[in-house]
Amino acid sequence: MAMTMHCDIASTEARIFSGRVESLVCTGTLGDMGILPGHAPLLTALIPGPVRLVTQDGEEQIFYVSGGYVEVQPGTVNILADTAVRADDMDEVQAAQAKKDAEEVLLNKSAEFEYSRAASQLAEAAAQLRTIQQLRKKLHR
């Protein structure tokens, strides 16, 4: 049997995932990173993006996380998500719409808006789209 580690994904409002996993890929501030059992202690911030993990039974699961922190100990991975929802539940149309809206706001400089907020909305929408595309690839495989 493959080596596994314990993984917890929780947001302030709910527990998203808890169980043993073989591997995990998440989006850190410095890029995507894969974590396998026995990883050195690591603490890093997450940016909006998918968290892909392979559970003990070899099943792949994808979650969307809009930022947060991840703590890695040799035997455990602890993801403290700002907002994490099941990727399956996410509405691609909505994400695309949010992205379009954010882009429109970015283009429309005359409108009264906060640039940084719009930019972060855009980043989030793009990350949500990326999650859905990964999910779709998995389903079609």
């Binding site: 302030t12 850190g28 410095l30 603490l43 703590e71």
Partner: protein, 286 residues
């Protein structure tokens, strides 16, 4: 029959009040269940972030965050979490009493106190009681979100960071069970030293990016999650306290109605007896 009209009116008005209180009791009971569920849902995150922070405290970081350094107290901050609405028994008053006691201890040491109020009741109370209220949130409602508390927490963290307060306390109700809510005063800054029973050897995390900004963000999240958890817990406390208060109000109204009914029946019987004796007396006189 004109007898006891006032009593009848009083009985019917108490009956109306009783209907309201018993409805409020039932509403509070169902809201309490939801609030308790919300409290449970938030627990994993609170537990996980607490363990991460205690790991950090146990690690040997190359960089020590300001939140972990103890400074002599010249001014302290209190975040008080109360309900938005009344009619929940002594819940808020007990909380304020606990807080005033804690404030008194600091006043005796000539330490000033800044207050951040969450919930309309604490805002109104400290406005009339006096106290330096620096931030305030109200009308959070029954489904609190983290976003609701971020602003006020930031005010307190900023004043901690720029040195205008040296301690930060969180005052809130602890949900022991439906009948009991315990007011608590907990120090959240500087972070109380963790009991280091595990992972005692020398080690440190790999930080990505630099530890400073990472810990900044993480510890801010930690404080926010503590405050959010207090808000959620207080919500459950509020509903439980309201349920109990309304239950006893309904019972009291029932007692009152019983007593008044007795008085009314006696008065009516006395009137009937009097009329009868008048008729009998009149007939005998003829």
């Amino acid at each position: 029959m004109a007898v006891g009209k006032e009593i009848r009116n009083q009985i019917s008005s108490i009956k109306n009040t009783q209907k309201i209180t018993s409805a409020m009791e039932m509403v509070a009971a169902s809201k309490m269940r939801k609030a308790q569920e919300a409290m449970q849902l938030g627990k994993p995150y609170a537990k996980n972030i607490r363990s991460v922070v205690s790991h950090i405290a146990n690690a040997n970081p190359e960089y020590t965050h300001e939140f972990m350094v103890e400074r002599p107290a010249k001014r302290v901050g209190f975040i008080v979490v109360s309900s938005d609405r009344g009619l929940c028994g002594g819940l808020n008053i007990n909380l304020f009493k606990a807080m005033i006691n804690a404030m008194k201890l600091w006043h005796e040491q000539n330490v000033e106190v800044d207050i951040c109020t969450i919930g309309a009741k604490s805002g109104a109370f400290f406005k009339s009681f006096g106290g330096n209220v620096v931030a305030s949130v109200r009308n959070i409602g029954e489904r609190p979100e983290v976003a609701d508390v971020i602003g006020s927490v930031k005010v307190m963290l900023d004043s901690y960071n720029n040195g205008s307060i040296d301690r930060l306390f969180l005052v809130g109700n602890e949900f022991v069970n439906t009948m009991t809510q315990q007011p608590t005063v907990e120090q959240i800054l500087p972070l109380p030293a963790a009991d280091a029973d595990e992972l005692k050897h020398h080690w440190d995390y790999i930080y990505e990016p630099a530890p400073q900004e990472l810990l900044d963000g993480l510890l801010t999240r930690y404080i926010e999650s503590l405050v959010y958890q207090a808000v959620v817990e207080n919500n459950a406390c509020e509903q439980a306290a309201r349920m109990i208060a309304m239950k006893s109000a309904t019972d009291n109204a029932g007692d009152l109605i019983g007593e008044l009914q007795l008085v009314y029946n006696k008065a009516r019987q006395a009137a009937i007896t009097q009329e009868l004796s008048e008729i009998v007396g009149g007939a005998a006189a003829v």
